[in-house]
């Protein structure tokens, strides 16, 4: 099958090389700067200002990592390579570890900030939400029929593509990403009619992360859907899987990020450690269960006044609905201490 390398890397050579090398420092610096802007925007800004800055960082990150720079932001597999290469090839080990450490450090501080503010795949998935929103406006039965038809169509398409690009040898090793993509669409058959079971289905992401990490650690070359967007891995498998990821977003809002993204799952777990989280100031009795917050949340992380912190991507959209706001546990501790002193 003929597939060509997309032309989105318009800058042919890296902009700022370290020691004249391909391991350009630019992506690391920019990643840090963009993450800092995101952290500031999420924590300090409010309402539509916050959303504008968020769109800004998403577009900037997409431009920087998809169009201008040639550095795979593989935070997930990178550290495996990084540890392996440390002391053997410090330069490349540094690049791998730096990405991992930057993303993880910000996650420990502010949860899945990366997902909601930077990740080009997350941004693209979010952009697909207009279709799921559109469907929400239909009656339940028609919405379901339309969803099933669309899902069946996409599943056939993706499975056919995965089969078409299957290489003659090493199918499993090379097609990991495509298999994950097909897996996502199969999973959606279960997710579509059972919105109530969403919280349980979301746990699949841990299985995905463990599988993914396991494969990386034993040395199978696993690719991610975002390899196509950010890295220079133009393998067919990743191309098929990015199609699957984006089309999955047409069925259930941010389906990949919700159920399967291994990086999302990893940072989701780390997010539990972060002091800055979305909280609701209403007591459960005050909540009228109007469903407004649930409707705006792209990750379906809200259940009345409860927040699923492993899913929340810090987009801040729910802060426009009753009672939800970002709260800093450390600052609260301090202010409580101050109150105690006086």
């Amino acid at each position: 099958m003929e597939l060509y390398m997309p032309l989105w890397k318009i800058v042919k050579r890296p902009l700022l090389p370290i020691r004249d090398s391909w391991q350009d420092a630019m992506p690391l610096v920019l990643l840090f700067v963009l993450m800092s802007v995101a952290a500031w925007g999420a924590y300090r800004l409010q309402g539509s200002k916050r959303q504008w800055v968020r769109r800004g960082t998403q577009v900037a990150a997409a431009l920087v990592f998809v169009v201008f720079l040639h550095r795979c932001l593989c935070a997930l597999r990178g550290w495996v390579f990084g540890l392996e290469l440390m002391g053997r090839n410090n330069l490349i080990a540094f690049a791998h570890m730096a990405i991992f450490i930057i993303v993880m450090a910000f996650t420990i501080g502010m949860g899945r900030l990366f997902c909601g503010w930077l990740c080009p795949l997350g941004a693209a998935s979010e952009a697909m939400r207009w279709i799921t929103r559109w469907r929400e406006r239909l009656g339940k039965r028609r919405a379901l029929i339309s969803g099933y038809l669309m899902l069946a169509g996409l599943l056939i398409l993706i499975a056919w593509l995965a089969w078409m690009v299957a290489p003659d040898t090493g199918f499993f090793a090379e097609n990991v990403a495509a298999l994950w993509g097909v897996g996502l669409l199969v999973l959606l058959f279960f997710a579509l009619p059972r919105a109530e079971d969403d919280a349980r289905l979301k746990r699949v992401k841990y299985v995905s992360a463990i599988g993914w990490l396991g494969l990386s650690v034993i040395g199978v070359f696993v690719t991610n859907p975002w390899c196509v967007l950010m890295g220079d891995e133009l393998d067919y498998s990743s191309m098929v899987s990015i199609l699957a990821v984006l089309s999955g977003g047409m069925i259930v809002s941010m389906a990949w990020c919700r159920y399967l993204c291994p990086l999302g799952a990893t940072v989701g777990l780390l997010a539990l450690l972060s002091p800055i989280k979305i909280r609701n100031s209403l007591s459960p009795e005050q909540c009228t269960d109007c469903g407004q917050c649930r409707q705006v949340c792209p990750m379906n992380a809200l259940d009345r006044t409860q927040v699923d912190h492993t899913s929340c991507i810090y987009c801040g959209q729910c802060t426009n609905t009753c009672g939800f706001h970002f709260e800093n546990e450390l600052a609260r501790g301090e202010s409580e201490a101050e109150v105690g002193e006086t």
Partner: protein, 487 residues
């Protein structure tokens, strides 16, 4: 004891041009410029297995960097007998009879032999040189396999890693035969880690060090040799993205070019017209032609994915053309003057080996292997099929991209008839000879990959899926119920 025939004695003094006429394969990619273009000629366009030499039973584990055979075998005449030299991951350098595949000797080193050896004659003695994973350079007598000298490039410690040597090149310097080799060594000792690549020049006969220079922190590629305005230059690429030229006499850097990405395949060097040039591919799939005078890029051509293949150069119809494989599954034929892609041929998997060009049935043909377990012979003008050979599967269950080294085919005259050699990852070293019938006559039309799949499977699923998608959108577009049912 003198083992020299008069012909060998002459060949010591041979110039590069005279070397180009020999139909042996004394070093990686045929000659020191790594052009992969042998004057050997197959008379017909069908091949048959002449012999195979198996090493498969020794493969008992996979580890990163495993290559069942070295990147390429080396073939040369020794005392009137054509011999093939090949190193293997099991630490052995083998000397085989190229006509029969019979093992004549083996030399066991202390580490894996991933890089190809090189053949040379020093002071009348035919010798084989190889760098081993045990950080040492070895020289062996080509006729007997007896170790003549060994040079350790970095002392042993508990924390040293496996080193990555390059294929050597054998040449003349100030009337002496010298061996040029690159070694990447690493030591993980805490706080004072060592990661360095050196270019080292040895006296071929004695193993004495002539000069040694640190050139990079990352692994480097096999060096190529080119005469640039009277100065012999060693041209090397490095994983840090640099390609550079060193004066063979002093080791001084003459120029350097920074590619955006890691360079892992050996550069090929040639003088086209007046322009000494280097052709090199990088991890981003860019094939760049660089001036060997200044390091300035002359042209670039983009392939779809990582290039781990050393280009082969030939003149077809009076125009210089290069052939290079890419991990986008294609073999490319590129005009070496204009960078235009003239044709490309799709295989089932990555083309990570270095192609070679020889005459097959009076026409130039390109021979290359792909990770889809096949060895391809294609018309160099059009890319049309001449012959295919299917090898077995890889001996290890999976591969980590970029971690394994892959072998490239070689061609040499053995007792007057050309043979095609290929060390495959299925554990076999194959030798093929031409037989008097043509593939096309035998099987008729060329069946390309893809056409095997029936039209129903090709168009059915996408048509069905489009239909379903259309239906789902039609439902979406239908009458809206503005109120949510829950309300």
């Amino acid at each position: 004891m003198r083992r020299l025939t008069p012909i060998l004695a002459l060949s010591i003094l041979c110039s590069a041009t005279a070397l180009a006429q020999r139909a042996d394969w004394p070093t990686f990619h045929y000659d020191n410029a790594r052009r992969g273009n042998s004057p050997a000629a197959f008379e017909t366009c069908a091949f048959e297995e002449a012999w195979r030499f198996n090493l498969g039973e020794h493969t008992w584990r996979y580890s990163k960097g495993t290559s069942v055979w070295s990147a390429s075998p080396v073939i040369a005449d020794v005392d009137g007998r054509t011999m093939l030299f090949i190193g293997a991951y099991n630490h052995n350098l083998y000397g085989l009879d190229a006509a029969t595949g019979e093992e004549l000797w083996r030399l066991t080193t202390g580490g894996r032999l991933n890089a190809p050896p090189a053949f040379g004659v020093a002071d009348g003695r035919p010798m084989v040189f190889i760098g081993s994973g045990d950080r040492s350079m070895y020289a062996a007598d080509a006729a007997t396999g007896q170790k003549l000298w060994q040079h350790e490039t970095m002392p042993w410690s508990y924390t040293v890693g496996l080193s990555a040597p390059t294929a050597p090149l054998v040449t003349q310097l100030n009337g002496r035969t010298v061996v040029v080799v690159g070694f990447w060594n690493s030591d993980r000792r805490s706080l004072r880690t060592v990661q360095r690549s050196d270019i080292i020049v040895f006296d071929a006969k004695t193993g004495d060090l002539i000069w040694r220079r640190k050139v990079a922190d990352t692994p480097i590629t096999t060096p190529a040799l080119l005469d640039v305005d009277g100065m012999p230059q060693i041209i090397v690429g490095a994983e840090d993205g640099r390609v550079f030229g060193l004066d063979l006499r002093s080791g001084d850097e003459q120029w350097s070019f920074t590619s955006g990405h890691a360079v892992t395949a050996a550069p090929m060097a040639a003088t086209l017209g007046e322009q000494p040039a280097v052709f090199v591919g990088d991890r981003w799939g860019m094939v760049t032609c660089v001036s060997a005078r200044s390091g300035a890029p002359i042209w670039e051509a983009k392939t779809g994915h990582e290039v781990k293949s050393t280009p082969a150069l030939t003149h077809v119809d009076g125009r210089p053309k290069i052939y290079v494989g890419s991990s986008d599954r294609y073999l490319y034929c590129i005009d070496a003057k204009t960078s235009r892609t003239l044709w490309r041929y799709q295989t089932g998997k990555f083309v990570v080996s270095s192609p070679l060009v020889v005459d097959v049935a009076g026409k130039p043909a390109v021979i290359f292997s792909s990770l889809d377990n096949r060895l391809y012979v294609r018309d160099a003008l059009s890319g049309q099929k001449i012959w295919d050979f299917e090898t077995g599967d890889m001996l290890w269950p999976y591969e980590t991209r970029g971690a394994s080294l892959w072998s490239s085919p070689a061609v040499a005259d053995v007792n007057g008839d050309p043979l095609l050699f290929f060390g495959s990852y299925d554990g076999n070293l194959y030798a093929f000879k031409a037989v008097p019938k043509c593939y096309a006559e035998e099987t008729g039309a060329d069946t390309q990959d893809g056409s095997r799949r029936s039209a129903l499977l090709l168009y059915g699923p996408p048509a069905l899926s489009l239909g379903l998608l259309l239906a789902s959108f039609l439902i979406l577009l239908g009458r809206r119920e503005e109120t949510r049912p829950e309300d």
